[in-house]
């Protein structure tokens, strides 16, 4: 090839043709959801909200004066490929994606990244106290850490549930499910409940990781279970929401919707409110599963709802917040933040915090629906 000499026009034609082809391939490959970005929710302690940003950093925001602090950036074993596509916010995505909401306990903030590492940061200085594994990386983590009785529990992409010492990060036990675990564990007493892509909901003993029972659905489970008054409520990709006995895992009832139950449900006064990918929120009697009401959103409900007083607030993917009054089961449109919402909502002192994929923390007054000035999570480097 090196011996070839081209006329000016020939070379230009070849380069033009190749460029056009490359452009067609790249343009048609830029589809939504091609690369991990992250949808971490916020966790509040005192006047500080902690959230994992799309830059791969833990951000601490002072809710009083809006000052921000950033941890060092999480490191990845391999660089993410974005196929030349443009990421949210205009540029290519950077940093390790963080999906799980940080967990707070004592003076530590626990966080897991899509890089397959679990971190404990000091709450005041945001320095890494420990990380797991110390060498190498696990499979990507989408689940959020949960802290209870001095242990950190988390589901990982290798299909395992890990229990770590909350103070040192030493592994205490692990339990292998049959597939990926994105569901965030829920602890009730000495039992951990978690769903897996292998279609099962597991109940494990938090002391040693032994299985107490499991319940098989017909689809993968990404949602976290909801535990309330002797029942475990879990939604599945088989389009059913199940109510199970907390001790035996026996099915009490099931409710069929039209699409996946992606996120955790919420319960208020004997009613379970569950958002579905069919763009509806279902209000079900917690004891019998009877449908009390259904509410139409403008788009699927992917984020975890929050309770504010007598209301529960859901966000649609299109970025519209809806408030459901639990006393009369009536829904009103609360606010439109104008950008896609995928992560869980956080409520604190009458304000709803929504972290979106454009490195922004939006704030909405839960009472009036007024959209307050948002906070940028972009680091000041």
């Amino acid at each position: 090839m090196s011996g070839l000499k081209f006329k000016k026009g020939t070379a230009a034609r070849i380069i033009f043709l190749s460029a056009v082809l490359l452009l067609v391939v790249l343009a048609s490959s830029c589809i939504q959801g091609l690369y991990p970005v992250g949808w971490s929710g916020g966790a509040v302690s005192g006047d500080t909200l902690y959230v994992g940003s799309q830059e791969g950093k833990l951000v601490a925001i002072n809710l009083t004066n809006e000052s921000r602090r950033w941890s060092t950036e999480l490191t990845a074993p391999r660089t993410g490929f974005n196929f030349g596509c443009i990421g949210p916010g205009g540029g290519a995505p950077s940093g390790v994606a963080i999906y799980g909401t940080p967990a707070l306990s004592g003076d530590l903030v626990y966080l897991a990244g899509y890089n397959g590492k679990i971190y404990a940061f000091t709450a005041d200085s945001l320095e890494v106290r420990w990380l797991y594994p110390r060498e190498g990386y696990l499979e990507p983590v989408v689940s959020a850490p949960v802290v209870s009785q001095g242990k950190v529990f988390i589901g990982v992409g290798d299909g395992k549930i890990y229990a770590l010492d909350a103070a040192t990060g030493d592994k205490l036990w692990e339990f292998a499910t049959g597939d990926n675990v994105w569901s965030t564990p829920v602890i009730e007493g000495d039992t951990l409940f978690v769903g897996s892509f292998d279609h099962n909901l597991y109940a494990l003993d938090i002391n040693n990781g032994t299985e107490k029972w499991r319940f098989q659905t017909e689809g993968a489970i990404t949602a976290s279970p909801l535990v309330r008054e002797g029942n475990v409520y879990i939604g599945s990709f088989d389009r059913n929401l199940y109510a199970l006995d907390i001790n035996s895992g026996a099915e009490k009832w099931r409710f069929a919707a039209e699409n996946w139950f992606w996120a955790q449900a919420i319960a208020v006064d004997g009613t379970v409110y569950a958002g579905n990918q069919d763009s509806k929120v279902y209000a079900l009697d917690a004891a019998s599963g009877t449908k009390q009401a259904e509410f139409n959103l403008d788009s699927p409900a992917a984020s975890v709802p929050v309770q504010v007083g007598n209301n529960v607030v859901f966000a649609s993917r299109e970025g519209i917040l809806y408030r459901i009054n639990t006393e009369g089961n009536t829904m009103t449109r609360l606010a439109d933040i104008g950008t896609e919402v995928l992560g869980p909502l956080t409520a604190n002192e009458g304000i709803i915090y929504i972290h979106t994929q454009d490195l922004t923390l939006h704030r909405v007054n839960a009472e009036t629906g007024a959209v307050m000035m948002s906070v940028s999570l972009e680091s000041e480097e």
Partner: protein
């Protein structure tokens, strides 16, 4: 959903998912089967395209002759070219039209594979909006990404090299060496550039996409073989050894070949009269033993 998603992407995604359900939940096999099925469905168009490009290649010597003859008169050249196309029953856009019709289908299949793979968590969440209300579609997801030990969601070196190799093979078969030095250079450049470019792309795309490219190339190799045989893959017996300006020198592998060629040359009528063909005797035709054995002629 927009029209493109509703009419093209959504059906393809659902069929891909259901197909993988029938194939032991193997998404890799589903990609292979779907690529073959769509290729087979487009056989009439593809054949038309292959035949049209073959006819165009067959016409190439005459076109080159015209270019040489009317190098200084572009208008006349265009007229003569159009007349040649007309007389040969050829449509210059004959190879482009089937390709343009097929293009959206390929892009749709390619996008459907990427969407169904759901490489990132956002991708899986996004997938829910494309699903038909079929029981199997909901329960099969997320799809198994492993295929013969390869993670379909991550780039794979072996598949990337296969992408380049099969693409090169297919192009080599469909591109016979041209006697026109400019076209020969262009063809040689494209023969390497495209496979190299796609190999590079395959190294940064999920392996599922590479599998789609490899399967497509293999199917097209089979079709190309059906129409043209090995084509440009098997070199002709008479080799062109050197090209300098308008002069051409050939190396004959036997005396009988040389005698045949000389006899053929003496049979050629050279005329500027229209309609008698487009063959022009070279300005200087000679066989130079010894000198022509050199690969590159000595500069004067």
């Amino acid at each position: 959903m927009n029209i493109w998603e509703l009419v093209i992407q959504q059906p393809m995604i659902n069929v891909l998912i259901v197909t993988s359900g029938f194939l032991a939940n193997s998404f890799g096999l589903a990609i292979v089967v779907m690529t073959i099925v769509i290729n087979v469905a487009m056989v009439p168009l593809t054949m038309k395209q292959i035949k049209a490009s073959k006819a165009m290649q067959d016409l190439q010597p005459k076109l080159s002759e015209l270019q040489r003859k009317y190098a200084k008169d572009k208008q006349k050249l265009a007229q003569e070219q159009m007349r040649l196309y007309r007389e040969s029953g050829m449509n210059p856009a004959g190879c482009m039209v089937p390709m343009l019709i097929q293009m959206p289908i390929w892009i749709a299949l390619y996008q459907s594979i990427m969407l169904s793979l759901a490489v990132a968590p956002e991708g899986l969440l996004n997938l829910s909006k494309y699903l038909y209300p079929w029981e199997s579609v909901y329960t099969l997801l997320p799809l198994s990404r492993s295929f013969i030990g390869i993670d379909m969601a991550s780039p794979n070196m072996v598949l990337a090299l296969l992408v380049g190799a099969t693409m090169w093979l297919q192009q080599k078969m469909s591109t016979p060496m041209s006697s026109d030095p400019r076209q020969a250079q262009q063809a040689r450049m494209m023969l390497w550039m495209m496979p190299m470019m796609f190999t590079f792309l395959a190294l940064s795309f999920p392996a599922g996409l590479s599998l789609f490219w490899v399967t497509s190339s293999l199917v097209r190799i089979a079709m190309q073989y059906y129409v043209t045989g090995w084509g440009g893959l098997i070199p002709k017996r008479v080799e062109e050894t050197a090209v300098t300006g308008q002069k051409k020198y050939v190396k004959f592998t036997s005396d009988s070949e040389r005698a045949d060629a000389e006899q053929a040359a003496s049979d050629i009528d050279v005329s500027d009269e229209k309609g008698l063909g487009y063959v022009k005797k070279p300005d200087k035709t000679r066989f130079q033993p010894g000198k022509d054995r050199r690969r590159h002629p000595r500069k004067k």
